[in-house]
Symmetry: C2
Subunit: 300 residues, 2 copies
C-alpha cells in the first residue's frame, strides 16, 4: 500500500497582508500539506472540522484525490485563525485564535491508514504527534513540523520523538532554539546527534538546507518579484517534498534533494495568492515547468 497520512489542522483563516486582506480562506497545516502532496501521490487526511465546514470545501479536497475518511466532523465550529503580516512578511501577528473543535482533537488512525508508509506530523502538540505516530505499523518515513511555542512549552515530549523523525522540518529560529545554539549549522548538527535522521531547515525567501549525517544540501528559493501571502508556505513545501518521495519511493539523498526542489516549487506558487488559492488552478505541468526553471536558476 502506498500513500501519505497527514495529521494536523484544517482551519479557516482571516489574513491581512500589506497589500490586501481575505476572509474565510481554507487553511491549516494539514490542508496545505495535503493539497501540495496531492500533486504527486494519494493523501489521507486525519483532522477535525466543525459542523460548519462547507460541502464545497470537502468537494474541493476530494477532487484533489485526498481521502477524507479520517476527517472527523464534530458539533461546533471549525478552527479559525486571524493573522496580520508586517511589511517584512517574515513577521506576523496572530490577532485571534479560536481553536473551537480543534481543542479536543484526539487523532485516531483507522486500520487501513495505519499501514501507510509516509506520515507527516503537522504542527500540533508533540504529545499528540507521538500518540498518532504510535498508531502506525511501520512507516518508512515520518516528516514532522513544530513551532517555537512547543519547543518552549513541551520540550521533553518533543525530544522524545526526535529519533523517529526523518526529516524534522524547522525554520532557522526554531532550529537554533531547539538546539540552544546560535549558529544554524551547528544547531542542525546537534539535532542530528539527538537521533533525528535528517534535518531540513526552511529559510523562507532564502531557500532551504538539508543536513544528513554524511552530507549537506543547500538550495535557494525561487526568486519572486512579489510574495503576496506566505501563509501555508512551510506546509506546502513539506507536502511537495513528501509527495515526491511517496511517488518515487526514492528515499536516498538524491531523492530527498529533488523532493526538496519540488517542495520549493510548490511553496513558490502558494505565496502568489491568499492561503492556498493559487494551488486551486495550478497544474502538474506548471509544476514541471517551474522545476525546469529551478534547474536553470541553480546550475553552474
Amino acid at each position: 500500500m502506498s500513500g501519505i497520512a497527514v495529521i494536523g489542522s484544517v482551519a479557516f483563516d482571516d489574513i491581512v497582508t500589506p497589500t490586501g486582506r481575505a476572509d474565510d480562506v481554507l487553511g491549516g497545516s494539514a490542508t496545505h500539506f495535503a493539497v501540495a502532496a496531492s500533486f504527486f501521490a494519494p493523501v489521507h487526511l486525519i483532522a477535525v472540522v466543525g459542523a460548519d465546514f462547507p460541502q464545497a470545501e470537502r468537494d474541493y479536497l476530494a477532487s484533489r484525490g485526498i481521502d477524507l475518511a479520517g476527517l472527523e466532523t464534530r458539533p461546533g465550529k471549525t478552527f479559525r485563525w486571524t493573522g496580520r503580516y508586517h511589511e517584512d512578511l517574515n513577521v506576523r501577528d496572530t490577532l485571534r485564535l479560536d481553536l473551537n473543535v480543534f481543542a479536543e482533537f484526539q487523532p485516531r488512525v483507522d486500520a487501513a491508514t495505519r499501514k501507510l508508509p509516509f506520515v507527516y506530523l503537522g504542527n500540533i502538540a508533540p504529545a499528540l504527534q507521538s500518540g498518532v505516530l504510535d498508531q502506525f505499523d511501520a512507516p518508512k518515513l515520518v516528516a514532522c513540523d513544530t513551532i517555537t511555542h512547543w519547543i518552549e512549552t513541551a520540550r521533553p515530549e518533543l525530544e522524545a520523538i526526535l529519533p523517529r523523525l526523518d526529516p524534522l522540518v524547522l525554520n532557522d529560529e526554531e532550529t537554533r532554539l531547539l538546539a540552544r545554539e546560535r549558529n544554524t549549522v551547528r544547531a542542525a548538527r546537534r539535532i542530528l546527534e539527538r537521533g533525528v535522521k535528517r534535518m531540513l531547515v526552511k529559510r523562507g525567501e532564502y531557500g532551504a538546507i538539508l543536513f544528513s549525517p554524511e552530507s549537506v544540501f543547500a538550495v535557494p528559493a525561487y526568486p519572486l518579484e512579489e510574495v503576496f501571502d506566505p501563509t501555508g508556505a512551510g506546509d506546502s513545501f513539506a507536502g511537495g517534498l513528501v509527495g515526491y518521495l511517496a511517488a518515487t519511493g526514492d528515499l536516498s539523498e538524491v531523492g530527498l534533494r529533488r523532493g526538496i526542489v519540488y517542495g520549493s516549487v510548490i511553496a513558490s506558487f502558494i505565496v502568489e495568492d491568499f492561503g492556498g488559492r493559487r494551488l486551486r488552478s495550478l497544474t502538474r505541468d506548471d509544476v514541471e515547468r517551474r522545476y525546469k526553471r529551478f534547474v536553470a536558476l541553480t546550475e553552474f
Copy 2:
C-alpha cells in the same frame, strides 16, 4: 595585456567580535579584493597608505603577485577603522574611523594600468570611482561596490556610472535602497533597467543572486559552523569572482556563475579568522577542494 586593476582602501582594522578581538589587522576594500583575486590572476593595486605602512605588509602583498606600483605613500598615517560586531554578525558598529591619508586620495592610473581589461571599483565616493574609470582605455568588465552611505548622500553621481558597471555588487539592503523597492528581486530588475549590465546581490550567510537581463542565478553560501569575523567577506567575494573571470576570460553567463562560486569559496574562508589572516595560509588546492564541495552541496 591581462590582469585586474583595483581601486579602494588599504587600512588597518581594530576588530571586536562576540568571541574575541584583534588590533592592527591589515584590511581595506582594495586589500581584501586584491588578495582574493591574486589566487587567480595578476592584480594591480591603486590605493594610498601613510608613511607608517610596514615593509612586512608590502612584502606580503608583493608575495601574492600584487603589483604595488600604484600604491601611493603619503606623509601621515594609514586609514584606520575600528568596528564591533553584534551577536548577530550581520550587524556592526563603527566605533572609530580615521581616514588619515585616505581623506585626500586622488587615484591616478598610470599608462600601463590604463590598458587593463578588468577593473574593480571598491567602496569610495562615486565621484572618485567615476574619475578613476575615466582613466581606463577600454575595460572589458567593471565590477563595483558601494555602501548605503553613498546611495543616500551621492545618488546622482552613483546613478551616472550605473550604465558602465558589470556587475554592480550590493547587499540586499543596498539593492532595495538604490532602487527604492521593498522586494529585492524587483529592485534588481529596476537597477538593470537603469543600465547596469548585471546585478549581483550579496546575501551573507544565505549566498548570492545574479540578475542578468535574460536570466537569474542563485547560489547558497557554504554552510559554516562558525563565522568568526565577516570583515572583508564582500570584497574577497568580488575578488574571487573577478579573479576567476580574468584567469579564464569567460565573461558569459556560465563563466560568471562559476566565478560567483569561486568568490563564495574565498569568502567562506576569509570569515574563518580575523580580517584577511586566513588567506595568508590558504592554497589554491584548498580553494579547489572547497569548490568541489560546493558542487556536492548544491547538485540535485
